[in-house]
């Protein structure tokens, strides 16, 4: 079994069946993670390169673990110490890595469209680990996996995504994935950070968090980047928390069995209170574990270089 494309660049490009296939495959790999010997020999001999132009510990480590669990050789291409600093273009760097024999290139970059660019220009399988403010497909996949584990289904669920939607590649991928699998999506946040035109995608937009959380099954919190302060999107993090922070009070407005998710890293006290982050309804740490299984599934299904 495999995916039609050699790459995983964008949730927008996938059909619902593709999403289901990845989730089912991930379930199998999660079992492996429970065993003593956490290895699957399927991709032995293949080479995975992590090409991270933006700093990242959790995603890169997660991909590295997944790639190693699938028995590939893993190389971390350290951008800061490389020829990129000497002015080498993106295309030249990627072609060099390909010439070194990479089968999988996992790329994170601050510009949207970079993963698509590499996928178009290279024979290797390109996996988008986050491109600008466009998409972060594997994050959405692990979010879906987590929801499915907890709620047995995606279809018909009321899902609220809260925060800086405009600049969040996680939110975008989540929105596309949830809609494809039939969830009802609500976006909650300041008007400056939730583009009004997104209602044309079929989502509901709220600025009032109390109203927006009524009847919600899944609460997905997004990190507020400190750099967004002082740029006119919202006045201060203090005011932000007053309007859109998740505390126990607000959580109580959602359904009794609603779960709380966050892609990490969290800003405690800015978008989420410690009480909720560490509370019983939070599945934040499970998301991290599931991330490895999902990434193993993606590597497996992409399978490496096609002739």
């Amino acid at each position: 079994m495999s995916l039609k494309s050699k790459d995983l660049v964008s949730i927008k490009d996938l059909e619902p069946e593709d999403l289901e296939l990845i989730l089912d495959t991930a379930a199998g790999f999660k079992d492996v993670l429970g065993r003593d010997i956490k290895k699957v020999p399927a991709l032995r001999g293949k080479t995975t390169v992590n090409l991270f132009y933006e700093p990242s510990t959790r995603t890169r480590t997660s991909f590295e673990l997944a790639a190693k669990r699938m028995s590939t050789d893993v190389i971390n291409f350290a951008v800061s110490t490389s020829s990129v600093i000497k002015g080498e273009t993106l295309k030249d760097t990627a072609l060099t890595i390909q010439a070194l024999g990479a089968d999988f290139i996992i790329v994170r970059h601050s510009c949207s469209g970079v993963a698509a660019f590499l996928a178009r220009n290279l024979n290797a399988s390109v996996i988008n680990a986050g491109d600008g403010i466009n998409e972060h497909p594997t994050q959405a996949l692990l979010d879906l996996f987590t929801i499915k584990e907890k709620k047995n289904t995606i279809k018909g669920l009321e899902v609220a995504i809260i925060g800086d939607i405009l600049h969040s590649r996680v939110a975008k991928s989540d929105i596309y994935a949830l809609i494809k699998l039939g969830a009802h999506v609500r976006l909650i946040g300041p008007p400056t950070l939730v583009p009004a035109c997104m209602k044309d995608l079929g989502v509901e937009i709220f600025t009032d968090m109390n109203k927006g959380l009524k009847g919600v099954d899944i609460i997905m919190m997004l990190r507020i980047q400190m750099e967004r302060q002082g740029k006119g999107f919202f006045p201060t993090t203090k005011e932000y928390f007053r309007n859109w922070g998740l505390n126990a009070d607000r959580l109580a407005r959602a359904k009794e069995d609603a779960i709380v998710m966050h892609p990490g890293p969290m800003n405690r006290g800015v978008e989420i209170s410690s009480e909720v982050a560490d509370g019983s309804r939070s599945v934040i740490l499970e998301q991290v574990t599931n991330g490895i299984a999902v990434r193993m599934a993606v590597l497996y299904l992409l399978g490496g270089v096609r002739e």
Partner: protein, 447 residues
């Protein structure tokens, strides 16, 4: 250069003389001698002989003209592009005066006006003189420099408009950039009145467009690309119209792209209290933001490609005369530069060699007639720039373009004469081609 040329049996369209019929065009020594309408010749009389050259040639007999058979073709005044970037001096890797003017004549343009955002900026007479000298040495067509409004195009200090005008600048613009401060734009408009020149405005509110790389809308959100709202253009269009009305100067609005801008111009022209003209470019009536899908950097341009509704409004603006001119904003870039992250790639479309073909689509659709094209691409830009071009009147330079409206072809960027192959229209099928361009009597025939 051929001394005597006769263009026979072509359908001549010359709005400056209200000619729109089959004629013979007589050219001598790089000038148009006369146009003879076939209809004015009595039936049965033989066609006239070309006039005897004064003094005759060495052999003592009458020199016979170089004859171009133009039956089934249209003969128009050579196009005048009042907005091109020739990139020389300073960015010769993108284009030179030589390659840019070669691209121009291929596209049917016999005169081009080049913008000052070179390196160094054309904000002084030395650079102006350099450009003119180069164009005489190496240019394929006439080049008129447009000088900067402000020094370095920084929007802070007026450049020496009179001295640059003496050196050959026929208009002024900080194109590439807006004039940021309303006060500076006011002063520039007021001061420019000492010369009979248009001030050409690139309308963009930098604070609204900051970081933007395509039109703002659902598409920019779903591509994860920062958008530029239509208002970034419209706010400065409104500002500059206001200032033109305040100062009584001649304002020309460059590259308009939105429905809102068209409406502002329409209303201003109705008011009639200022001398305002405007141009659009073929890409603003031939493509929408959809061309950016897939992160196609060849569709990255400033102002950006907009929506279907904007395209319709631009066409309507052309049809009802709100938009006076079609110019290309020819912006060539090196292919390495367009093969980059979308955010980092420079904006611009190489347009000289696709302009006429794209304009012919408007004729096919019934938006404009060929006569309208001759006005918007030749006569009106010449009038605005106060140059004696865009006309086939006797005594004018023999700047002529011959068109085959039935010829079908595909755009082939790799074959462009321009160094810039950056176009979103590569591979597009078109009908209507430039088959011959004549610059001051020099003939360029194209396959």
């Amino acid at each position: 250069m051929n001394q005597k040329i006769l263009i026979k049996n072509g359908h001549v369209i010359d709005p400056s003389q209200n000619i729109d019929e089959i004629c013979d065009v007589f050219i001598e020594d790089g000038k148009i001698l006369k146009i003879e309408q076939k209809s004015s010749r009595a039936a049965g009389t033989p066609p006239p002989q070309p006039p005897l050259a004064k003094g005759g040639n060495e052999k003592g007999g009458m020199a016979s003209p170089h004859t171009i058979e133009a039956k089934g073709m249209y003969v128009l005044p050579g196009f005048v592009d009042m907005h091109v970037h020739l990139r020389e001096p300073g960015f010769e890797y993108k284009e030179t005066i030589k390659t840019g003017t070669e691209a121009a004549v291929r596209g049917g343009f016999t005169s081009v006006c080049c913008m000052p955002n070179t390196k160094p900026v054309n904000d002084n007479s030395s650079v102006t003189e350099f450009i003119i000298r180069r164009s005489i040495q190496e240019g394929f067509c006439t080049v008129y420099p447009i000088g900067a409004i402000t020094k370095g195009q920084k929007g802070e200090e007026l450049a020496e408009l009179s001295i640059m005008h003496d050196a050959g600048c026929i208009a002024f613009s900080d194109d590439g950039w807006p004039v940021k401060e309303a006060l500076m734009m006011r002063r520039a408009l007021e001061y420019s009145k000492i010369l009979d020149v248009p001030v050409i405005s690139h309308c963009e509110d930098l604070s609204l467009s900051s970081g933007g790389v395509m039109n703002e809308g659902l598409l920019s959100v779903t591509l994860g690309l920062q958008g530029v709202p239509a208002q970034a253009e419209e706010i400065i269009v409104a500002r500059d119209i206001s200032l033109a009305e305040l100062t009584g100067a001649r304002l020309h609005i460059a590259h308009i792209s939105t429905a809102g801008s068209v409406e502002l111009l329409r209303t201003a022209k109705k008011r009639g209290t200022a001398d305002i003209t405007a141009e659009t470019c073929p890409h603003y009536f031939s493509a929408t933001e959809e061309a950016v899908k897939g992160y196609n950097t060849n569709a990255k341009v400033n102002p950006p490609l907009r929506t279907k509704a904007d395209v319709e409004a631009i066409k309507q603006g052309l049809a009802d005369g709100t938009i006076d001119v079609i110019a290309t904003d020819h912006a060539p870039h090196h292919s390495d530069e367009k093969l980059m992250e979308f955010d980092r790639a420079p904006s611009g479309i190489s347009g000289l060699e696709t302009a006429f073909g794209l304009c012919m689509k408007l004729v096919d659709e019934g938006v404009l007639t060929l006569k309208d094209l001759a006005e918007k691409m030749a006569l009106t830009p010449s009038k605005i720039m106060r140059v004696k071009k865009g006309t086939l009147k006797s005594g004018s330079d023999a700047d002529i373009v011959i068109i085959d409206t039935k010829k079908e072809y595909k755009i082939d960027a790799a074959a462009f004469r321009s160094k810039g192959k950056n176009t979103p229209f590569d591979g597009m099928s078109l009908k209507g081609a430039v088959v011959t361009t004549i610059c001051k009597g020099k003939i360029y025939k194209w396959d």
